[in-house]
Symmetry: C2
Subunit: 360 residues, 2 copies
Amino acid sequence: MADAGGAIDVARLVCPTPVRERERVILGHGGGGTLSHELIEQVFLPAFANPVLDRLGDSCVLDAADLLAGGGRLAISTDSYVVRPLTFPGGTIGDLAVNGTVNDLAMSGARPLWLTAAFIIEEGLPIAELAEIAGCMARAARAAGVAIVTGDTKVVERGHGDGCYVNTAGIGIVPPGVALGPERVRPGDVVLVSGTLADHGMAVMSVRDGLEFDAPISSDTAPLHGLVAAMLSVCRDLKMLRDPTRGGVATSLAEIATLARVGIEIDEEAIPVASPVAAACELLGLDPLLVANEGKLLAVVPATHADPVLGAMRRHEHGRDAVRLGRVVAAHPGLVAMRTALGGTRIVPMPIGEQLPRMC
Amino acid sequence: MADAGGAIDVARLVCPTPVRERERVILGHGGGGTLSHELIEQVFLPAFANPVLDRLGDSCVLDAADLLAGGGRLAISTDSYVVRPLTFPGGTIGDLAVNGTVNDLAMSGARPLWLTAAFIIEEGLPIAELAEIAGCMARAARAAGVAIVTGDTKVVERGHGDGCYVNTAGIGIVPPGVALGPERVRPGDVVLVSGTLADHGMAVMSVRDGLEFDAPISSDTAPLHGLVAAMLSVCRDLKMLRDPTRGGVATSLAEIATLARVGIEIDEEAIPVASPVAAACELLGLDPLLVANEGKLLAVVPATHADPVLGAMRRHEHGRDAVRLGRVVAAHPGLVAMRTALGGTRIVPMPIGEQLPRMC
């Protein structure tokens, strides 16, 4: 290290600390030390910046008393997202991680307010890709009117993850007087669906495993709490909502039937599926009722309110294609039946396993 | 399929549905369908059972207005847990997932109330092992007085996970009048630590990669909100708390110094390390200040209250070995210095990367 004159050239000294990799995530980014702080400051804070997150505490503290005054209740939800690939037509894992949890809150009638964001990153993920995911989350959060208030980053060794898994937990406020739940569902109620089915699942399939469809299919990922608020504004008496994500409409309807101990009857001819999606499903032998949606909801409403609610849905950007899908019946409790186009009736079973794994 | 007589033997018919594997988690357990419901009903509900979770909504709804009346504020936190191996002396990933998030809430002075629990499971994990993890979470939650109110399960293919990753988010209430934060730290304040350092990290190391130490070392994983409440009962004016998990005490002290824009000086001779842990650290060339703890806290308190707070800590089961570690100074803001046993002073740097990856 000494130069010709024998003096030490400080600029040429090297220190045996970890190489600070700038292009890809390394294990050290998950260590809680300087590299972790750099990742937070370079990727997450610029994307999510808000006064609560910027305090960088282990937890965040929020005033909520005013929000709950007058009978509001707290709604809490969580989901992990493991979709593969991380980017697909119409969205990324970041959009799903925000909209999915926002929607779980919306299904209890809540106004979503705050999200947590936790990342499990596989060593080697390009930091630019992580930044893009964070950017998608930030845009989705702004669009949904929620703040990402606290978070966490872990890194696992190459081969122990799949690029990036994201968990979000959400907190919202259920307005006074709104009480959705299976115990309120009754025979005679009407089942509505807010739009076309299977778009998300087929969009992910379209880029997976080298598949390609002629017509472009985009994920329907979208926040639905605005649509729910519009529905509640014309009918405070909504009975139950579900967003048919993994397992599709068949699974959500079976859950409603089971939890409410009622039968559900849907009309095959009413099932809304966009034609490129229908073609792709047919090509792959998939039933659109079993394919995941990320921007649709099922609603059980009193028959007397079905038309006004449907009208409110159709006036909202995320409910334009809403239709009556079927009805609640006293017969066959726990089961979903479909009146086929040919006039027959068949059972719509809850799927056992996974038709298309890792859709969300 | 026809027998000798030509009739169909129905009992011998097989149906091309997925095999319902009973011993290990398969992809279908993450599909949202019947297998997912079975896993929830057989593993998670029995462990976590409570009236809120039992409703099985996409989100849960809770009354919190009374809890916030009179000036209480909401605390929110999240962490993902990726510890390897899943079980180690003194605990499992399940204990960490509850206590770690409880502690993040406790560090803002909050009483923890509710947890979410989200699992990313690698295909092939024995269901018995998952049930054991859930059992540990349930016991830890009961011990900490928190309820697991909602959750999520995803399954990834073999080779895309590491048995099981767990995320928890926590919600708690900060009592009126409690306001911890770096902006309240002043030169002259005293730094306390609640007990011996490096137990958790060395316990995990003791079972990793075939290492074995002579003396048994156990993780210190424990919920700390009771200790914090005891400290607050003698000093409402606590300035700041941190739990020195990954990155150890060196990282947490550097964070306090940075966020509060003060210097911190600690005394080498005051650093509490149990002798088997000290021996193990020496053997592996590790600095106990950099090793993770899961049941310890650092507290910055006004000098006038240091003795009463220390007394309250020592009377609590999780603070028996509490000591004065050092003090806040006006010099070298953002830096942590250590007065060595020999009378010198050296800088305690924040670690750059990860000395021991995947400790929590």
